[in-house]
């Protein structure tokens, strides 16, 4: 860390914070804090993008940073908070597996992700190639969060943190995707959120709770 220039050091620390955030999201029970963690994750991602844009002079990165800020930091968390208040679903108490074992599995997943990223970062020409491992780790951790959650809302938060991980991955491997794709992805995420909002209201209306064990009627082993 010492030999690299200052901005790279900051980028690496920001990546480390991202990893820490997704880890804490894995262990978190309260949905409100999860949404806040998601917002901070978005903020960190936006910061890193701005820093990278400044360092590499890729101006389209500024635009994607602005997009991330608008979407991932302001709009979506606000939407989620409003939903949480309207549906007053604050707790996602019991999970599939207790916290310590999820953390342990998370650790294993991170190790696997770093092992996986070795060949890619060896080839990457970008400055931030070392953070690819962290990006993959964030993706797999958020996948794990979705698996271990009982509430629909927390699954959605996991899904959005996976989007963040993907964006960070794109940013660290190839300084972001081509503009038209970035726009498309952002649009998709926005529409996805709208659809999810509609979903929550309908589920609430049908089952008067967002717990996923109502959504287990379509099965075949009984």
């Amino acid at each position: 860390m010492a030999g690299t220039p200052l901005d790279l050091q900051i980028l690496n620390t920001l990546a480390a914070i991202l990893l820490l955030l997704s880890f804490s999201m894995l262990a978190q029970r309260r949905i409100v804090t999860m949404v806040n963690l998601l917002a901070t994750q978005g903020a960190i991602l936006c910061l890193a993008t701005v820093l990278l844009a400044w360092r590499t002079g890729e101006n389209h990165l500024y635009l994607s940073a602005a997009l991330t800020l608008a979407l991932k930091v302001i709009l979506l968390p606000w939407l989620l908070h409003r939903l949480i208040r309207r549906l007053d679903v604050y707790w996602d108490t019991e999970t599939m597996i207790n916290a310590p074992s999820t953390m342990l599995i998370g650790l294993l997943v991170v190790i696997f992700a770093f092992g996986l990223a070795q060949p890619i970062s060896a080839l990457a020409s970008t400055a931030t190639r070392s953070t690819i491992g962290i990006a993959i780790a964030v993706i797999l951790l958020s996948f794990l969060t979705m698996i271990t959650r009982r509430k629909a809302m927390s699954q959605v938060v996991g899904f959005l943190s996976m989007e963040n991980g993907l964006f960070f991955g794109a940013m660290s491997t190839t300084y972001g995707m081509p503009m038209v794709v970035e726009l498309g992805v952002a649009l998709d995420v926005l529409v996805a959120m709208l659809v999810l909002g509609v979903f929550f209201f309908q589920i609430r209306e049908q089952f008067d709770s967002l717990d996923l064990h109502h959504l287990e009627s379509l099965r075949e082993d009984e």
């Binding site: 696997f112 996986l116 698996i147 064990h213 287990e216 009627s217 379509l218 099965r219 082993d221």
Partner: protein, 668 residues
């Protein structure tokens, strides 16, 4: 395109197409019975007759091939007419002519499906059988094979309101499909690396013995499933009786022969040099099926099921004949091989006519009385003389009694078995003669079954009062029955000419022939050296003269007064229909002697019953042992697999997560 006159194959294809057109014409006015009955079915019979004539004339001609436009882009349908195909086409044409004639008068209102639809499926069934016989590449064969199965499935389920008929239809199509999969696999093995699926490529492919045996066994399984050999026979006694009688006649008489055609085509033509031990497999399975079929036929109480079981017996005997043909051919005893092949072909043709005649007879009875259960029939000979006497011809023929055709094929088969002691293999020359004894036992049991069948239905007193209004068969039905009975008699009396035709097939398949040099036209002496000969015409003349002399002798001496009185019956006065032997009763000795074969459950009355009743149900053990067990195991696996889909979304996510990690691990 050669003009139909000069090229028989084109003529055959034109006639099959004519059948298709006649079938489609049925849809023009589907509801009217007269249109379908009076015009279309006779037209179909004419096409059948034409097909028979063209086929018989082309048996002696060299093989001929045509490629049609239809088919896969790089594998169009190949068609081929060679002596083997010509014989079976002749069989199809002649038998279907009689059956179509009969069904012209048979189908009436309320027969389940619309008459027009029935006419379409019926003629599609005939056309697809014709195509199966003519097909010369794997794709065309498979398409024709399963169209045959499909069209016959729809015919079987015409009265689909009855649950048993639906069950029979499902079982039939399922086993037919499994058989077809077996055949497809065997074709795959047979092309042996040349990767073209025309039969010529398969003939050229040199398979090493193991692969050839695998191909043979797969084909044997596939065709045996359609022919109804024992382990795979369970669908036959269900499906044949479920269909309307002309269709049962067509299925039993002709469709089973396409399976036999398939085995002959694969064993002798496509696999080139068959190995002799294959014959033992065919012989063993054939004999066991024959014995199993006839024993079960003897205990049936439904007349059509009785005939279906008897079909299994006859198919078993034909497979036994094919078995010894392969044994002789494999061991190089060519004269005997051609003798037993001719016996097999002869029995095929005989059975087609005999069994169709019997099924059509039961059809006429079913239409007259509306009753299929033997327990509620009897004494019909008085009201249905035409049907009774013509069915008697069929019954005597299938029991293998001398002047008729059943005896000729049995005689040829026993002659072939008789020389089996010259087989060089040590144990085989002892087992084969005992095989002959088993064939004789089956023939005798067939006699038993036929006496029961004819006696219980036509003779004795009518067991139900409403049998009195039974009316005889209509003109068309009589014409169909007479055509088939005539065929039985002609085949019985003129074997020498018929065997002359089959010689072409033996020369084509086994490169040897029987050669009818010494015999006059009326005497059948296949092996002059052995001095065994059988002249049915002289035999019949001598019998006729002796009977005539007896009648004249008696007339010269006898007291001519005749008085009709009540039956003597050892002096018992009140004689009613219930005192006769029932169908179960007639089968009782067989149930007693061959006890281990049957799964029997008896309901014995207890002394306290108000209305004591005794009922015995005979079930097929193979169904319980084999098929239900397979069904249970598949259900168990299905339950196991269903556990994958428990409905919780997190488990589904876990599946995809684990798949991702595993794949990444592999790629690393």
């Amino acid at each position: 395109m050669l003009t139909p006159a000069s090229s028989p194959l084109a003529a055959c294809l034109a006639l099959l197409a004519a059948w298709g057109v006649v079938g489609l014409a049925g849809l023009v006015r589907p509801r009217s019975v007269e249109f379908a009955g009076r015009t279309l079915f006779p037209l179909g019979a004419l096409c059948g007759l034409g097909l028979a004539v063209v086929a018989v004339r082309s048996i002696a001609l060299p093989p001929e091939q045509i490629e049609l436009l239809v088919g896969l882009p790089d594998l169009p349908f190949h068609m081929r007419l060679d002596p083997l195909a010509a014989v079976f086409l002749a069989l199809l044409g002649a038998a279907s002519a009689g059956i179509s004639l009969f069904s012209a008068g048979y189908f009436r209102k309320g027969e389940g499906a619309l008459p027009g639809l029935l006419c379409l499926e019926y003629h599609l069934f005939l056309a697809s059988m014709g195509l199966v016989i003519l097909a010369d590449d794997a794709y065309a064969f498979m398409v024709a094979w399963e169209t045959m199965a499909l069209s016959s499935y729809f015919l079987v389920t015409t009265q689909h309101r009855i649950p048993d008929i639906r069950r029979a239809g499902f079982l039939y199509l399922l086993i037919a499909h499994l058989g077809a999969i077996g055949i497809l696999l065997s074709f795959g093995v047979m092309q042996g690396g040349s990767w073209q699926f025309t039969f010529d490529a398969m003939r050229a492919a040199q398979l090493d013995p193991q692969w050839a045996s695998v191909a043979f066994l797969l084909a044997f399984f596939g065709f045996g499933a359609k022919a109804g050999l024992v382990p795979l026979h369970v669908w036959l006694p269900e499906a044949h009786p479920a269909a309307p009688s002309p269709v049962s006649a067509l299925m039993s008489g002709v469709m089973l022969k396409t399976a036999i055609y398939g085995v002959l085509r694969v064993t002798f033509d496509l696999l080139g040099q068959p190995q002799w031990w294959w014959g033992l497999v065919a012989l063993g399975v054939g004999l066991f099926s024959a014995f199993y079929g006839v024993v079960f036929a003897a205990v049936q109480t439904d007349m059509k099921r009785l005939l279906a079981w008897s079909s299994i017996e006859n198919v078993g005997i034909i497979f036994a004949a094919i078995g010894i043909t392969v044994v002789f051919h494999g061991l190089g005893m060519s004269a005997l091989a051609s003798l037993s092949l001719i016996a097999a072909l002869y029995h095929c043709v005989n059975h087609a006519f005999m069994k169709s005649l019997l099924f059509l007879g039961t059809g006429a009875v079913l239409h007259a009385t509306g009753e299929r259960n033997l327990g509620r029939l009897g004494g019909l000979i008085h009201r249905m003389p035409w049907v009774a006497w013509l069915t008697l011809v069929g019954a005597l023929a299938i029991a293998g009694l001398p002047p008729l055709n059943g005896f000729v094929s049995e005689w040829l088969l026993l002659q072939a078995f008789l020389f089996a002691d010259t087989v060089p293999r040590p144990f085989i020359n002892m087992l084969l003669p005992i095989g002959a004894a088993l064939v004789a036992l089956c023939a005798a049991l067939a006699g038993y079954v036929m006496v029961k069948f004819f006696g219980v239905i036509f003779l004795g007193q009518p067991r139900e009062p409403n049998l009195a209004q039974a009316h005889d068969a209509g003109p068309f039905e009589r014409a169909g029955l007479v055509w088939l009975a005539l065929a039985c008699v002609v085949l019985g009396i003129l074997p020498v000419q018929v065997i002359g035709e089959f010689d072409q097939v033996s020369r084509a398949l086994l490169a040897t022939e029987l050669g009818q040099d010494a015999a006059q036209w009326w005497l059948l002496a296949p092996t002059p050296a052995r001095g065994a000969s059988y002249g049915p015409l002289a035999f019949l003349l001598a019998g006729g003269i002796l009977t005539g002399l007896t009648v004249l002798g008696v007339r010269a001496v006898y007291h001519q007064r005749v008085r009709r009185g009540p039956a003597w019956d050892c002096g018992f006065v009140r004689l009613d229909a219930r005192m006769q032997d029932t169908a179960e009763g007639f089968g009782q000795p067989i149930r007693h002697i061959f006890q281990p074969f049957f799964g029997m459950s008896r309901e014995l009355p207890t002394p306290f019953d108000a209305a004591p009743s005794y009922r015995v149900t005979v079930t097929d053990r193979i169904w319980a042992a084999g098929y239900e067990r397979v069904g249970r195991s598949v259900r168990r696996v299905a339950d196991l697999v269903a556990r994958l889909q428990q409905g919780r979304i997190s488990t589904y996510l876990l599946y995809s997560f684990v798949t991702l990690i595993v794949l990444l691990w592999i790629v690393l």
